[in-house]
């Protein structure tokens, strides 16, 4: 019989190595003759320099080289621009090493290679650069104004990109409104901060002219293309391998970070392996950030709370360059209306250069921002109209009977946001019930009289997932009977090897232990893009299903010849093909794989082997959805918040492995809570980062994250054969808004209106004392 594996909580095959210290992360790689690199980084947010004096560094025993922009030649041309935007005015991408001008504290200026990392860091202190500091543009709002110091001197403004998108009759919506809400909302700057920082190891084999790069990237295949291009090598001479990677969350996908080019360059130049491991301070200043936007939103509503239209003009802090395109702004504007049936939406964003580290996606990629804006606006419209926060949501939801319902918004990858396969009213009802929302509301008046400030918050989310481009998977049955599965996209903890094995093993009716999975190595499978945007299960999973189904069809065809029985009378079970109703008439897959490689009789024009590759792209993407609801208690004396209950109602379609799905939701929610309450990056007016350690950037611990209650609403996606909707980011997206809504509800007696996150205790005290309207203290 075929064993059902898709949908089962199969234990992860990844775990034994990770638990016993036998995994191989980037810094665990040790090669004979390996040297160690350290990066000299700019201490100024904006400065010019003409001279880098490395003589003293080079004189230090054990130092092998100091590489500056002048040494790189054509390898230092600007990096590629991803995610074109129709509104680009001044696209500017970074270079591996700053050529005479630095634009943020942390920008790479030189690379030292030495016998040890300790020596390499000693050498950094001996390099002299004749920096001439200039005025920096740091504050987003100020940087966007005419006359601000320019981040790029060859532009006339820091506005990199100005883009508008409209659907519906926006003027008509506002003309028909009984009430218009206008306000400024501000999600602050944060960062992914995986527990493993970035790292690169490179080895150049001169005799074979082969460059091998181990890289903590989420996109090894794409990185290989950029590195080969910059180094002037054929792609065939470059292999990029993502080893075990200690978390990514978006920050480890970039094409490419300077070190991804500099370390291979140095290895080739010196003829010796070179390792660079980022330290945590470098990660705070040399890796990408996320989050800061300033939205000015207008919401047109009727007196009964029906939202007629939204205008949202927002500024997006791009950092010093915009190589990823304004992707977070694109996602924020696309996802803005969430699950609500809003007839007219107009969005306009300006991506703005500032003298701060580059901004690129972090779990949710702009969706937490768009979600915070929409959900906060919902709360504020409700309050203005005297409606309950849950009730106004209920009145505006897209209902199952409306579907498919085209929101008119276009998500990343040119994917139209069309609502289907979800029951938003049922999600809301489940949340309210699980939270005992009515009970909280009933108790509030009496509690408030006793000085108890308890509040409930709810936030919906719709999460764009499964976006273009494609991924591919090859499935090959070996003559040993093992099934070899390869794909290009790597894992950073998601358990892809387990879930891919579940899909392939079920489809081919083999025990999962027979399935061997390899991923994230460009020498094994060099097609596809990478792991991001909650897309692996959707694009990779369906490619695995397609490849396994093709192998199954081929196995039936081969067995049909062997057994002289029509394929439709054959079934796969227990690693063999047998005749229906006659399991003794069987041929093992291993024998079919052997027979499929007819060494002496292969006919030209046919392919050997029992194998197939499939490539999957979902033109309409996929969309997950759900609701977060929580109850908080705010201590009005200290500004501390205790989360008493946290409920997640989640619909990610078919769950390939429910335990792994829960892990994704729980982890994402914890990151969302971090962004809502604890985590914020700050700079002084000169652009100096004020948060560069975990003592300043407060990642929540087990004490701060409450138990989270998950309710699955598993409705199959009609958009792909597996019926999956993606799950990576849904936990993180609505947590900001839900937390803000709960705090605001708790502090309603103070007239508090939350307009910014994170809400740290000083910001909450400011709300209570009415000192500022929800602007987080900075």
């Amino acid at each position: 019989m075929t064993t059902r594996l898709i949908g089962e909580p199969v234990e992860r095959r990844e775990d034994a190595r990770l638990l016993t210290g036998r995994a191989r992360f980037i810094d665990d790689i040790r090669l004979p003759g390996m040297l160690h690199a350290a990066v000299l980084r700019s201490p100024h947010a904006k400065a010019r320099f003409t001279r880098i004096d490395a003589a003293a560094a080079l004189a230090l025993p054990g130092v092998h080289t100091v590489i500056t922009h002048e040494d790189l030649g054509t390898a230092n041309t600007p990096m590629p621009l991803l995610n074109e935007d129709p509104g680009f005015i001044h696209p500017r991408t970074h270079q591996a090493l700053a050529p005479g001008q630095v634009r943020f504290v942390g920008e790479a200026v030189a690379l030292v290679v030495a016998d040890s990392r300790y020596l390499a860091e000693d050498a950094l202190d001996l390099i002299e650069v004749d920096y001439a500091p200039e005025a920096a543009a740091v504050d987003l709002v100020a940087a966007a104004k005419p006359g601000a110091p320019l981040v790029h001197d060859d532009t006339d403004s820091n506005v990199a990109c100005r883009t508008a998108d409209s659907n519906g009759d926006i003027e008509g919506a506002f003309a028909a409104a009984d009430f218009v809400l206008r306000e400024e909302l501000r999600p602050e700057r944060g960062a992914a901060q995986p527990m493993e920082t970035r790292g690169v190891v490179a080895r150049y084999d001169e005799s074979l002219d082969q460059l091998t790069i181990w890289d903590t990237t989420q996109a090894p295949v794409s990185a290989r293309g950029v590195i080969a291009d910059k180094l002037g090598l054929p792609e065939a001479a470059v292999t990029v391998i993502a080893p075990d990677v200690g978390g990514g969350f978006g920050v480890k996908i970039f094409l490419v970070y300077p070190e991804e080019l500099l370390v291979p360059f140095a290895a080739r130049m010196l003829g010796r392996p070179v390792k660079w491991i980022e330290d945590r301070r470098e990660h705070f200043i040399g890796s990408n950030h996320e989050r800061l936007m300033v939205h000015r939103i207008e919401v047109a509503a009727t007196t009964d709370g029906c939202i007629l239209g939204i205008r949202d003009h927002f500024l997006y802090d791009s950092g010093a360059y915009c190589p990823y395109g304004p992707i977070n702004a694109q996602c924020a504007q696309a996802i803005l209306p969430g699950p609500y049936k809003i007839p007219a939406v107009h969005t306009e964003y300006e991506a703005v250069y500032t003298n701060t580290p580059v901004v690129s996606p972090y779990r949710g990629a702009g969706q937490p921002h768009g979600n915070f804006v929409m959900e906060a606006a919902m709360n504020h419209v409700a309050r203005a109209l005297g409606l309950d926060a849950a009730e106004i949501r209920r009145r505006n939801l897209v209902r199952p009977e409306d579907c498919p319902w085209d929101s008119g918004r276009i998500f990343q990858g040119n994917t139209p946001l069309i609502h289907r396969d979800s029951d938003y009213p049922a999600q809301l009802a489940k949340t309210l019930e699980a939270l005992d929302y009515a009970g909280v509301k009933r108790s509030q008046p009496a509690e408030r009289e006793q000085g108890i400030f308890r509040g409930a918050g709810i936030a919906f989310f719709v999460e764009g997932t499964g976006i273009s481009p494609y991924e591919g998977v090859e499935v090959r049955v070996e003559p040993t009977g093992h099934v070899h599965v390869t794909t290009g996209y790597p894992s950073q903890g998601q358990g892809h090897h387990t879930t891919l094995a579940q899909i392939v093993a079920e489809t081919l009716a083999v025990p999962p232990e027979q399935v061997v999975v390899e991923s994230g190595r460009s020498d094994r499978f060099a097609w596809g893009v990478g792991t991001f945007a909650s897309r692996a299960a959707v694009v990779g999973g369906n490619a695995a299903l397609g490849a396994a189904e093709a192998v199954r069809a081929r196995a039936l065809e081969l067995a049909s010849d062997e057994l002289e029985v029509a394929p439709e009378d054959l079934v796969l079970a227990d690693g063999a093909v047998h005749v229906k109703g006659a399991p003794q008439m069987a041929v093992p897959l291993a024998a079919l794989a052997y027979a499929a490689d007819p060494i002496n009789t292969l006919e030209s024009g046919t392919e050997p082997g029992l194998r197939a590759a499939d490539y999957y792209r979902s033109p309409d993407g996929a969309f997950a959805s759900g609701v977060h609801g929580l109850i908080v208690m705010v201590d009005a004396a200290t500004g501390m918040v205790e989360i008493e209950k946290y409920v997640v109602v989640h619909d990610c379609g078919v769950m390939i492995n429910p335990t792994i799905v829960d892990g994704q939701i729980l982890g994402g929610t914890a990151q969302g809570i971090g962004g809502a309450f604890y985590e914020k990056l700050r700079f002084d007016e000169a652009g100096q980062p004020l948060v560069t350690t975990f003592m300043d950037y407060l990642i929540p611990t087990a004490m701060e994250i409450p138990p989270i209650e998950i309710h699955h609403m598993e409705s199959r996606s009609s958009l792909n054969p597996l019926g999956v909707k993606g799950v990576g980011e849904g936990g993180a997206i609505p947590a900001l808004a839900a937390f803000a809504g709960a705090v605001e509800d708790a502090l309603e007696p103070f007239g508090a209106t939350v307009r910014a996150v994170p809400l740290d205790p000083p910001a909450i005290l400011a709300l209570i004392e009415g000192r500022c309207e929800g602007r987080a203290a900075s």
């Binding site: 234990e11 992860r12 990844e14 775990d15 034994a16 190595r17 990770l18 638990l19 016993t20 210290g21 036998r22 995994a23 191989r24 992360f25 810094d27 665990d28 040790r30 025993p61 054990g62 300790y118 020596l119 000693d122 992914a192 901060q193 995986p194 527990m195 493993e196 920082t197 075990d244 990677v245 200690g246 978390g247 969350f249 330290d279 945590r280 950073q492 903890g493 998601q494 358990g495 335990t659 792994i660 829960d662 892990g663 729980l666 982890g667 994402g668 929610t669 914890a670 990151q671 350690t693 975990f694 003592m695 990642i699 611990t701 087990a702 004490m703 994250i705 138990p707 989270i708 936990g731």
Partner: protein, 162 residues
């Protein structure tokens, strides 16, 4: 700056290691790069994240906050010592069964924090477990499945079969 070499003798997981090191060499770097035991991970190098936690004479210590020379004469225990050959320690087994890890980078430090904790407190409450975990950052799991794993490990160590 590079300087004088000092001889360090330590026992790690029952084996003796001896070598000349600079005074500035971190214990974490000694364990990983001199002794070659890469199961101990380095997350922040400023003593907050707990990924580098090892046992020094039985007590959990952040090995990034100690110099190797300070460990001279000590007996160290790292994650590599937990399993008995191919048989996982109950803590490891419980983490596997409860999905107490995702990327697995913080996991060795968490396991080494929990081993003495469960020895001292064989039947902890959830609140006690969370407090014990509060010096170890995990960015993947949100801790809930770790807490469940610790509950299960405690039961296994008490000889119960949860």
């Amino acid at each position: 700056m590079a300087g004088q070499q000092h001889t360090v003798r330590v026992t790690i997981n029952g084996e003796d290691y001896e070598g000349p090191v600079e005074a500035r060499l971190l214990l974490s770097d000694f364990i990983r790069h001199e002794a070659g035991l890469t199961g101990t991970h380095v997350g922040c190098e400023h003593g907050v994240c707990g990924a580098c936690t090892v046992l020094v004479d039985g007590a959990p210590v952040r090995s990034c906050l100690m110099f190797a020379v300070q460990a001279d004469g000590a007996s160290l225990e790292t994650v590599e010592a937990l399993a008995d050959g191919r048989t996982l320690h109950p803590l490891q087994e419980a983490f596997r069964r409860e999905h107490g890890l995702q990327c697995g980078y913080c996991t060795p430090g968490i396991l080494m924090t929990l081993k003495p904790f469960l020895e001292a407190n064989p039947a902890p409450s959830d609140a006690e477990i969370r407090k014990a975990l509060s010096g170890n950052l995990c960015r993947c799991t949100g801790y809930q499945q770790i807490v469940a794993a610790v509950r299960r490990a405690a039961a296994m160590l008490r000889g119960e079969d949860p």
